[in-house]
Structure formats: structure tokens, C-alpha cells
Amino acid sequence: MEELINTLKAQIIKVLNLEDINPEDINPDDPLFGEGLGLDSIDALELIVLLEKEYGIKIENSADAKKIFSSIRTLAEFISENRKK
């Protein structure tokens, strides 16, 4: 799980152009939106694309997204259980 969390940190920094943030700056339990990394709605869409492109996962139920995208850790747990590649 820790390896996947570290991979996700690097991928998120890259696809969301978080240039001033290093992987070690991100606490995997911090909220992704609002506080924490302070991501916005476009970032959320980009993360959905990341899940599909890198892990073959489509989020079918948008109501689940809030829980899945709570933090890097919840995202990693979801990927670990549902990844197709």
C-alpha cells in the first residue's frame, strides 16, 4: 500500500502541475480538497481521468467519489481493490 501511495503522490503532482509540492510534503491522510492539497473541481475531473488511464478504473457511481477522493490513502485503497491494470 505504501508503494502505491508514493506512486499516487508522484502521479498527482505531475498531472495536476503541483510544482511547489514534493511527495514528502503530502500527508496521505490529509484531505485532497478544501484544506490539505486544496484541489479544485477541475483537479477532481483530472483525477478521474488518471484513474481510468493508469488503473483502468471507471467510477460508476458519482456518490462514491467523495469518499474515494477523501485522501491519498482512501484513493490508494480504492485503486488497490478495483484496479484492472
Binding site: 495536476l16 502541475n17 503541483l18 510544482e19 477541475i42 481521468v49
Partner: protein, 212 residues
């Protein structure tokens, strides 16, 4: 032609050179990469605005140019948000970002349209970035023309100022494509006693500054 409006400040960025109000503030001919060049300038402004890194290159150019003139003339200290307009023009619209976006959708077997690229496929997003950062809420519009049209821009902006639709306007030209980048933004304001030594805002003076 209006004689009551003036050009209070201007900034030009082209050829890795930055000129602000006739003074060359930065010149480094060794930058072959626009991304590195504009990031260096952004960092030199000491503005902490992480959203800069999410912008496309056209927006980065408009954003940095506007921040450099606003450092000379902080319009927010003088006017209400709805009294400050932003009027920008260029010829290539968002062609580079349009192409980048197309590259995310052209292959059906690798079809992953990027939302963060898509949002920059309209040129007026450049104005949006400037307005969001500075909370400007005045009239704004982005024009497409074959080349910088000082006659049209100065006339349009004078009309806005003369009809009290705005008290000040950031206006000019911001162009970016893979072979070329160039920005020329200036502030047009209504004249006051403090501004007596400033250039009158008319087509000829705007053109002279642009060509200088």
C-alpha cells in the same frame, strides 16, 4: 478621439526581454524554452500563486505581464473591482492549447480528454485568470485580429472609459504559439492632475509604445 485618458504604465515581453515603462528590466538571450523563461520571471515577482503552474502558456504570459504592470500601478488601491476592465487581443487565439487538447482525443484507442487542458481552449480564460487573481469585475473582452490593432483597441477602450463603464483598463496584446510569444499590456486610465506628464491614450501613442 478622447483627450482625457492616459497611458499610465506598460509592459512588453518578447524575445526573452522585459520592458516596463521604457526600462529594460530583464534580458537573458539564452532561454530557449519559454516555460523556463516565464517560470523564472514568475518567481522573480515573488508572487505566491500556485495556480500559475496550472495555467497554459498563453495565460502564464498574460498573467505575468499583468502582474508586472500592477506592481507599478496597483489599480485595486484606486478603484472598485467593477471599475477595472481587461481588454486583450491576439491573432492565434489558443491554438497551442487547442492542439494539446486535440492530442488527448485524436486516438480512439487512447482517448483520455484532459479537463485541465480543455479549460484553457478559449482565449478569454486569460482575462479570467487576471481578473480572478486581482478580483477585477469590470467589462472584459478578448478580440482576435490578424495583428495588433492600436486604432481599434484604443478606440474601444476610450469608449469604455468615456462612458464611465470603467475607470481604468488593462489592455493590449498577448500572443503565444510554438514559434512566437509576445505580450504588450498597458494601463489606460482617466486623466487626473497627478497624471499630467503621462501619454495621452490614443492610437498613435499606443502604436509607438508597441513598436518601440
Amino acid at each position: 478621439m478622447s483627450k482625457t485618458n492616459i497611458i499610465s504604465d506598460y509592459c512588453k515581453i518578447r524575445g526573452n526581454k522585459i520592458i516596463i515603462n521604457d526600462n529594460t528590466e530583464f534580458f537573458e538571450e539564452n532561454y530557449s524554452n519559454f516555460g523556463n523563461f516565464i517560470k523564472t520571471i514568475y518567481k522573480s515577482t515573488q508572487i505566491n500563486y500556485p495556480k500559475f503552474y496550472k495555467m497554459d502558456d498563453l495565460c502564464k504570459l498574460a498573467f505575468v505581464t499583468s502582474e508586472l504592470i500592477l506592481k507599478c500601478n496597483n489599480l485595486s488601491n484606486k478603484y472598485k473591482p467593477d471599475e477595472i476592465s481587461v481588454i486583450i487581443s491576439n491573432s492565434c487565439s489558443t491554438i497551442e492549447t487547442d492542439t494539446n487538447y486535440y492530442n488527448t482525443i485524436k486516438d480512439n484507442s487512447n482517448y483520455f480528454p484532459s479537463p485541465s487542458v480543455f479549460v484553457y481552449t478559449l482565449p478569454n480564460i486569460t482575462i479570467g485568470e487576471v481578473c480572478i487573481k486581482n478580483h477585477f469585475m469590470g467589462e472584459n473582452i478578448f478580440f482576435i485580429s490578424e495583428k495588433f490593432d492600436s486604432e481599434f483597441i484604443s478606440s474601444y477602450v476610450n469608449n469604455i472609459l468615456d462612458n464611465n463603464k470603467a475607470q481604468a483598463c488593462i489592455c493590449g496584446w498577448v500572443e503565444y504559439n510554438k514559434d512566437n510569444y509576445e505580450s504588450f499590456l498597458y494601463i489606460a486610465e482617466k486623466n487626473t492632475d497627478e497624471n499630467n506628464n503621462k501619454l495621452i491614450h490614443n492610437a498613435n501613442n499606443v502604436k509607438q509604445l508597441y513598436l518601440k
